[in-house]
Symmetry: C2
C-alpha cells in the first residue's frame, strides 16, 4: 500500500525522484530560483521560497525559471494572519535587546518596524495564474478559501505541512493533494497552525507513521532526513516522498552567509533549538549567543513576523564583524548530510544514484 503511495507522488507530479527540496527563506532568501531549477532539472521537485518576495519579485523569479526548466516546480508561501502591531510588546522587547543595541552603538529609535514576511495574497495569486506552477505549497496551514480555490482552479497541486495528526486530518479535510509530515527535527519554521503549544510537536519517527495511518493522501516526510539511508528509513515508515532542506544549505546555489555555512560545517550544528527570537514564531536554528542569553523562546518577542525588525540591525552589525551571534542560523537537527556539491549532484546522491 505504501509502495503504491510512492508511485502516487511521483506520478502526481510527473517527477522522477521522490525528493522535494525544502523551500528555505532566510534574508532575503536562503536559496532562490537557481537551486529550485537545479533540483527540478535533476528529477526532484525544486522549491522557490516566496515569503520574502514581492509580487513583482515573484514574477521575475518565475519568468527566469521558465527559461531554464520545464520540469515541475513548487512555489512556497506562508499563510499567517498579519498581527496588529503591539506597541507595548515591541517596547518591552526593545528593552530586552537594549544592552545589545548599546554594545553595537545602534539607536533603537532609528529601527524601522515592519512585517518582514508577507502572507499569500490575491496579488501573488494573480502572478501564479500566469505561470501555473505544478505545486503550490503553504506553511502555517492554508490561505483563505477563496484564494485556495483560485490556486486549485488552474490545477496546481496543493501541499501543506502538518506537525500533528490533527493538522494532517485538517489539511486533508481542506483539500490538499499531499501532506508534508514535518517532524520536530526539521530546520526553519515549525508549520504548526492548530496549536502554539510546543509540547504537541513530535519527532519524525513518531509523526510520520501516525499520519500515514490516518490519511489517504501521499505523505512527504520532513525533518532529520539527510542522506540516502534517511530516505530509505522514511520510505520504510510509509512516506510517499521526502522533503530535505538542511542538506542543501552548503550547495553553491544556497545564498546563505559565510557565517551560516561555517556554523553548519562545525560541531556547533549538533546543538539547535526552536527559537522565536528572529521572527516571532518557533523555528529551528543553531544555538548562538542571543538564543543562549535571552532563551531561545522568549515571551517578549513580538508576534510573527513582527519580531524580525528589532533584531535585524544587530544581525547586520554582528555579521559585519564576522559573528553569527544575532543571526538565524537555520538548521535541522541533522546536518551530517550537508555537502559542498551542486544541488543537482546532491539530489542524485540522495536518490542513491552515485
Amino acid at each position: 500500500m505504501r509502495l503504491e503511495q510512492l508511485m502516487e507522488l511521483t506520478e502526481l507530479l510527473g517527477i522522477e525522484l521522490p525528493i522535494v527540496q525544502a523551500p528555505m527563506a532566510v534574508v532575503a532568501v536562503a536559496q532562490g530560483s537557481a537551486m529550485a531549477i537545479a533540483v527540478s532539472n535533476a528529477g526532484g521537485l525544486g522549491s522557490l521560497p516566496c515569503a520574502m518576495l514581492t509580487a513583482d519579485g515573484l514574477r521575475k523569479e518565475l519568468e527566469s525559471i521558465k527559461t531554464q526548466t520545464n520540469k515541475p516546480l513548487n512555489v512556497n508561501f506562508f499563510c499567517h494572519a498579519v498581527p496588529d502591531a503591539d506597541a507595548e510588546r515591541e517596547s518591552s522587547w526593545r528593552v530586552a535587546l537594549a544592552p545589545y543595541y548599546r554594545q553595537y552603538g545602534i539607536d533603537p529609535a532609528g529601527i524601522p518596524t515592519g512585517p518582514g514576511r508577507a502572507p499569500f495574497s490575491g496579488e501573488f495569486a494573480d502572478v501564479l495564474e500566469e505561470y501555473q506552477p505544478a505545486v503550490v505549497s503553504f506553511h502555517f496551514g492554508l490561505p483563505p478559501a477563496h484564494l485556495l480555490a483560485r490556486v486549485k482552479s488552474w490545477r496546481s497541486k496543493i501541499f501543506s505541512s502538518a506537525t500533528t495528526v490533527e493538522e494532517a486530518l485538517w489539511l486533508e479535510a481542506h483539500g490538499v493533494d499531499a501532506i508534508i509530515a514535518q517532524g520536530l527535527e526539521a530546520g526553519g519554521h515549525r508549520g504548526m497552525f492548530l496549536s502554539d503549544d510546543l509540547t504537541t510537536q513530535v519527532g519524525t519517527f513518531a509523526l510520520l507513521p501516525q499520519i500515514v495511518r490516518v490519511v489517504k493522501l501521499p505523505v512527504v516526510a520532513a525533518g532529520g532526513i539527510a542522506d540516502a539511508q534517511g530516505i530509505a528509513a522514511a520510505m520504510a515508515l510509509g512516506a510517499a516522498g521526502v522533503q530535505i532542506g538542511t542538506a542543501y544549505l552548503l550547495c553553491p546555489e544556497a545564498t546563505i552567509s559565510g557565517i551560516h555555512r561555517a556554523a553548519l560545517k562545525s560541531e556547533a550544528a549538533r546543538h539547535t533549538a526552536l527559537t522565536n527570537l528572529f521572527t516571532g514564531r518557533p523555528a529551528r536554528g543553531i544555538m548562538n549567543r542571543v538564543m543562549r542569553e535571552l532563551g531561545p523562546i522568549n515571551s517578549h518577542a513580538p508576534a510573527f513576523p513582527l519580531a524580525t525588525s528589532a533584531i535585524a540591525p544587530l544581525r547586520a552589525k554582528a555579521e559585519a564583524e564576522g559573528s553569527g551571534d544575532f543571526s538565524p542560523l537555520w538548521s535541522g537537527q541533522n546536518a551530517i548530510g550537508c555537502k559542498e556539491v551542486p544541488a543537482a549532484q546532491l539530489t542524485r546522491e540522495l536518490a542513491g544514484g552515485h
Copy 2:
C-alpha cells in the same frame, strides 16, 4: 558496515532477534520479570527494571527468572547521584500542590519524604554477581568506576543510553559495550546526563545516524519505534538493534494500571510531553491535568528522585476515583504499536514473523 554491526549485537548477546524490550519502572514497576522472561524466551532481550527494587527484591526476581529462562536477559539500573533534601524547594513545591491536597482532603504534614528510586550500589552488585546477567544497562550515565569494574569483571555486557552525540562519545570512552541512542520520542525518563538543557535533545531520525557515524560500538535505536516498519527504518539508519518500550505496555505482562492502559488506547496518547512533576527529572508521559495546570516542566519540583513523594498521595486518591489526573502516564510519542497480545507474540510480530 552497518549490517556487520547488526550481526555484532545479536552475536554479542547470543539472541535471535535484534529487539531489546525497554525496561519500564513505574510504581512499583510497569513490568516485572514476567515480561522480561517472555521476551527473552521469544528471542529478544527482555529487561528487568530495577530502579524501584531493593537488593532483596532483585534477588527474588533473578531467582524466579532463573527457573523460567536460560536466555540472555538485561537488568537495568538508574545511576543518579542522590541529592540532599532541600527543605525550601520541598516546601515551595508543596505550596504549588496545596490546592490539590485540599481538594482530596490530604494533610501535607503526613506525607513522608523519601527518595523513591535507588541508584546502582555495591549491594545490588553483590546480588548481580551471583547471577551474572548477560546485560546490565544503566540510565543517566554510568555508576562509579569501581562499581562498573565489578560488573565488567564477570563479563556482563554494559549498555547505557545516549541522548546526544557527546553522551555517546563519553559512554564509548568509559567502556560500554553498546549504546542506546535514545531519541526524543522515547517514553519515560530521558537518559540525559551531560547536560540538563532540554534543547540538546534530538529526535531519533537525527540522533541515530549522527551517533552511528562517530562510534565504533553497536548502536541500539530507541524512541518512536512501534512496529516492524519502524525497526526496518531504524536499521536503514544504521542501528544494530532497537529498544522498544511503549508498544509492550498493553501486553498482559505489563503491570500498569487500567487508567494508564485506557489512556494509551485513547487519542489522548497523541499528546505527550516531557515532565519533571512526577520524579524531578524530565520523562515523557501522556499529558494530563497536573501537567497542564502546573506546566509539564516546573522549576519548583524537587530534584530527582525526591519529587516522587509529594505527588504520590494525590495520585493514589485520584486513581481510586478512576482518574489519571496525577499519574505518570508514561508513553513515547508513538503509541500506535500497542497491542493487547502476549509479549512473546508482540516480539515475534515486531520482528516481522507474523
